[in-house]
């Protein structure tokens, strides 16, 4: 069979995407820039920066909380981290807001950036001003950003609920935060076969980067298998005898969010195996009730013998028996 011209597609993709971007930008070039759209509302007199100490006058609780906040550290390092640090680095210049002295009818009151009312993309753009590399490198392309899930939906800057220097979450821990939207995962995590999320040894962010990633489903690796090999490097191979669906995708057989089958398998053995193996003799045998005495149905079923199912490096291991 003729090999696909993958390189051609790589080139086409590599060229079309930037071209598309340029087109999109051109369409938007006639209007104001993103930076201006995320700026605080305009005022008749342009507000100026007044410093965090001014904010403390009315917002003492927030100011005190900020002193133990990771963002306070940026304040210590001044311009090494950003042009501005402290309250106004996120909320914008506060002179007009301060002059309004709590009077909501004063036009100056609303000149600071209020993260509860601005659009999600605008809110996240403020955070992205500093958090642009490392974990957040793929934020703008992430499904969360696409679905208008702003940073402040998950992170609480002033009153985080997470303890122990965690990532300032709006919930007591990562798992509780994620299931507020991904509710169906609470069913999966409660299944008999599960990874140690309920016990706290892992959490959703152990495998997923909620800020976006290079892989599908925001996983912390380029492919599913690469992610699984992080903890299960024994399966990484390459092996002499490989099991093709194992090599392509661990999810062909495993359901990592939880399963009522042993080893978080997507189906009970031998039925899972028999979805692909209908060979003559025992692979295709109907194991029904009288066959409970068969070692091909009982206990570990097919893997009672074919235990090297992830691949074998034994010269006689083609059938994953050795």
């Amino acid at each position: 069979m003729r090999r696909p011209p993958v390189i051609i597609w790589v080139l086409i993709g590599g060229l079309l995407l930037p071209a598309g971007a340029a087109l999109l930008i051109a369409l938007g070039a006639q209007t104001s820039s993103a930076q201006s759209s995320s700026a605080p509302p305009a005022s008749t007199t342009a507000p100026t920066y007044v410093g965090s100490e001014t904010c403390k006058g009315c917002h003492e609780d927030q100011w005190n909380a900020f002193q133990s906040n990771p963002h306070h550290r940026a304040e210590m390092d001044g311009k090494v981290i950003a042009d501005r640090t402290g309250c106004e680095s996120c909320h914008g210049p506060g002179s007009a807001h301060a002059e309004a002295a709590g009077d909501r009818n004063n036009p100056g009151f609303a000149t600071i950036r209020n993260f509860k009312t601005i659009k999600p993309a605008e809110a996240s753009a403020v955070c992205a001003g500093c958090h642009t590399g490392s974990e957040q490198f793929q934020w703008s392309q992430s499904p969360h950003a696409r679905n208008d899930v702003a940073c402040v939906r998950c992170h609480s800057i002033h009153h985080p609920q997470s303890e122990g220097g965690g990532p300032m979450l709006n919930a007591t821990d990562v798992n509780h935060l994620c299931i507020t939207c991904h509710k169906e995962k609470s069913i999966a995590l409660a299944r008999s076969g599960h990874m140690p999320l309920r016990e706290g040894s892992m959490n959703c962010a152990s495998c997923h980067n909620p800020h976006g990633s290079n892989g599908p489903k925001m996983i912390r690796a380029a492919t599913v298998n690469d992610l699984c090999y992080t903890c299960h490097a024994d399966k990484r191979g390459p092996m002499l005898w490989e099991h093709a669906p194992v090599r392509e995708n661990c999810l062909n057989c495993h359901q990592p969010h939880g399963s009522n089958n042993d080893k978080v398998l997507t189906g009970k053995r031998p039925f899972l195996c028999q979805r692909c193996h209908v060979g003559t003799r025992h692979p295709s045998t109907l194991y029904d009730y009288p066959d409970l005495v068969s070692n091909r149905l009982f206990n570990r079923s097919c893997t009672n013998c074919h235990s090297q199912i992830h691949g074998s490096n034994h010269p006689s291991g083609k059938y994953f028996l050795r």
Binding site: G13, M76, I187, S284, L321
Partner: protein
């Protein structure tokens, strides 16, 4: 371990000292919680402590020490200290300039507390039986079942079937100048203990052994980030090594004291365990932002994995080696010299060109290029009794393929806000997968979908996302399907199928490469009228239809799920939370029975399995302050799964397998009394009830079947129902 703890304590001491030198220190929310606990469990089922250690007696639940002085902040956090599931993390920040993290965590995984095993281990992975027993079984095979039954039930001791993963992590992050960030991180992951592992002798003897696990994985990675104005640049390099310190299993055959050709085979069987491997990788990433929230990112990652463990011999059976004249030189190579290169790249652009329109386009490419040499083997001894020679047209024909695969996809996701309350979008994806040595070498999938978000009133958000995927194989390669390339014929007759069986029957399409239509709907409604009430519910539907071209194999998978979640902040003294989930899954698969060597073309031999699974989940909890200084909190979780196995065949005499059933009730009640200003006393009662009914894992005997001719020896690690209660008294002190 001791070294690590010493290092951590030293680091902490140094940190605290530096903080003190740096100026007046301030404590921030420090606390510890310690206490004592008593518990009982009605049956020793491993599920209770599968991934944790439930403490008995005195224990440390958690501690947090955070000291700040000037630019320095040192945080020491820990949970479950000195227990099998302990976790400790030390963080030291110097402003935002640099940060050091050290962590240590253990994850126990207990499989069984009632396993019994009759072999003895003379060295890691070397399992022996009394020679007299092997001799007796060899001399009088008819007494094998009785001999082993008597021996195992009288002599097999209980053994731990558990392993522990110990993760030690270190990370240093430095921001030396504006826009620059460097990070070095390393993880040392060791895993030791044992787990059940199967092995076979001959065609009808399965043995379950406690595979000794002594593995180590070390990962190290360095990244450099540069950010200036619109440009972000990231470069990284990493290394990962895996070492398996027990690389083979040597197990005495209970049926033989001496080697034999055919029959029960070798006196001692040898299995190859997972080989050592090493991966190196490098990554380059570039991001550029433009006006209108436009961002371009491109990532290129190159990795190479190598594996070169020495091959074992074809068999440990000296009689077979002698009969077939097998030596080390008979192997096609002495080691694999395996090499797989992987390239991953992602190019993505996202933008909001006009206020209401946003879109993202992503191109992903992954190439797993297995550069291991494909070798031709003269045959094999799959269970160390019988030699299987693979010859076709007079040539050896057993080839070890180097499986590789390529996958690429383009995704386009566009949304338009028609009004502030109505936002709709479209999804278009195209996926191509390309592989070698399989019946489908290339398949393509088109996914089209729509997304909608409505805000009918201020307090309500409704979202829905529907996609339809259509995957099609380019062509079906019958020779690869039948395994002619590697399985071929025994003897010299061209295209005579392997007389040993394992020939796939016509009509099967394996589900991972079969043509498939997939419908997926996820919808959600959320009601949040104010800061005190959050109610939401979701419905998920998925249907995978393989039946179009598939006679045998997986035909259909269907899933419905409903999930509800509610959090109500009733007042300053009472918070309520609850959740409910319900799911129904159906799979339908068809196979064709053929007990003879030859394939069956008769649909009367077909049989089907309809597997219907229904699960329920519920949770409820509250936090209540009934009076000053007293806090009561409770949580309850319930999960239940029932699965039916509806079997049918051409003669309609198939008998359904018994249904399987899992149920877990879990509840915890905490009553906390603030005794002193900084000290609280907590009383805790925990209750669990686990019920299991599974034909495959209940009442696992040591020898199976218990009557007639036995075909397996197991570890007896049955799953069991249990009930457990625990009572704890804790003290939490803040300082």
């Amino acid at each position: 371990m001791t070294t690590f703890r010493t290092a951590m304590i030293t680091a902490l001491a140094c940190g605290v000292a530096l903080v003190a030198i740096g100026g007046e220190s301030r404590a921030q929310g420090n606390q510890f919680t310690i206490g004592g606990q008593w518990w009982d469990q009605s049956a020793p089922e491993a599920k209770y402590q599968e991934f944790r250690q439930v403490p008995f007696g005195g224990f440390v639940q958690s501690f947090l020490v955070r000291e700040m002085a000037g630019r320095n902040t040192v945080t020491l956090w820990g949970a479950n200290a000195i227990r099998a599931d302990q976790a400790t993390r030390l963080t030291w920040n110097n402003g935002a300039r640099w940060r050091v993290d050290l962590g240590y965590a253990q994850i126990p995984h207990t499989f069984s507390e009632i396993a019994r095993w009759g072999w003895f281990q003379s060295a890691p992975g070397v399992f022996g039986l009394p020679d007299s027993l092997q001799a007796a079984n060899q001399r009088t095979p008819a007494n094998y079942t009785k001999n082993m039954n008597d021996y195992l039930y009288s002599s097999a001791p209980y053994i731990p079937l558990t392993h522990t993963t110990k993760n030690t992590t270190a990370r240093i992050r430095v921001r030396p100048a504006r826009g620059w960030q460097f990070e070095l991180k390393a993880t040392d992951r060791t895993r030791d203990g044992s787990k059940a592992y199967g092995m076979s002798f001959g065609f009808n003897t399965a043995l379950e052994n406690p595979e000794p696990i002594d593995q180590r994985t070390v990962d190290a990675e360095g990244t450099a980030d540069y950010h200036r104005d619109r440009l972000t640049f990231q470069a990284g390099a990493g290394l990962s090594t895996f070492d398996n310190h027990v690389s083979e299993l040597l197990v005495d055959n209970p049926k033989r004291l001496t080697d034999q050709v055919n029959g029960d085979g070798a006196a001692v069987g040898k299995m190859d365990l997972y080989p050592d491997n090493t991966t190196v990788r490098g990554t380059l990433s570039v991001g550029y932002t433009l006006p209108r929230y436009t961002a371009l990112t491109a990532v290129l990652q190159v990795a190479q994995t190598t594996q070169n463990d020495q091959f074992l011999d074809f068999t440990n059976n000296s009689a077979l080696n002698s009969a077939q004249k097998l030596t080390r030189d008979s192997l096609a190579a002495q080691s694999l010299d395996g090499k797989a290169r992987q390239i991953n790249s992602v190019v993505s652009v996202s933008s909001r060109p006009i206020g209401r329109l946003d879109g993202t386009a992503t191109f992903r490419y992954t190439d797993y290029d297995n550069r291991t040499e494909e070798r031709t083997w003269i045959g094999m001894a799959p269970y160390e009794a019988t030699w299987q020679r693979f010859v076709q047209n007079g040539q050896y024909a057993l080839e070890s393929p180097a499986l590789d695969n390529k996958q690429w996809s383009t995704d386009l996701d566009v949304n338009y806000a028609f009004t502030p309350r109505v936002r709709a979008g479209g999804i278009a994806e195209y996926h191509v997968r390309d592989r070698n040595d399989r019946e489908v070498e290339k398949d393509k999938e088109t996914i089209l979908g729509a997304r909608l978000r409505l805000l009918p009133i201020d307090a309500v958000t409704v979202t829905a996302r529907y996609t339809h995927g259509d995957r099609k194989a380019d062509q079906f390669l019958t020779d690869d399907y039948l395994g002619l390339k590697t399985r071929s014929a025994i003897g010299s007759t061209p295209n005579l199928y392997d007389s040993l069986g394992f020939i796939e029957q016509p009509g099967l399409r394996r589900f991972d490469v079969a043509d498939r239509k997939e419908d997926h709907l996820i919808s959600d409604i959320a009601y949040s009228p104010n800061d005190r009430i959050d109610l939401s519910g979701s419905y998920i539907y998925q249907r995978d239809d393989f039946a179009r071209d598939t006679t045998l194999g997986l035909q259909e998978v269907q899933l419905h799920q409903i999930a509800l979640l509610g959090v109500i902040h009733v007042n300053a003294k009472l918070d309520l939370n609850g959740g409910y989930g319900w799911g129904k899954g159906k799979t339908f698969q068809r196979s064709r029975q053929s007990n003879a060597a030859n394939v069956s073309y008769n649909p009367v031999d077909n049989w089907t399995a309809r597997i219907n699974e229904q699960e329920t989940y519920a949770s409820a909890g509250f936090d209540w302050l009934p009076r000053n200084r007293v806090t009561v909190s409770a949580s309850y979780t319930f999960s239940r799964d029932a699965t039916d196995y509806d079997l049918d065949n051409g003669a309609h005499n198939a008998v359904d397998l018994p249904s399987t059933f899992y149920r877990l009730h879990e509840s915890v009640l905490d009553v906390s009394w603030q005794w002193l200003k900084s000290t609280s006393v907590i009383g805790r009662w925990g209750w669990e009830q686990y019920s299991v009914d599974d034909f495959a894992t209940e009442d696992v005997p040591l020898i199976f079947p218990t009557t007639g001719t036995s075909t397996a020896i197991y570890l007896g690690d049955s799953s069991q129902s249990y009930r457990a209660n625990r009572l704890a008294l804790l003290v939490r002190h803040t300082f």
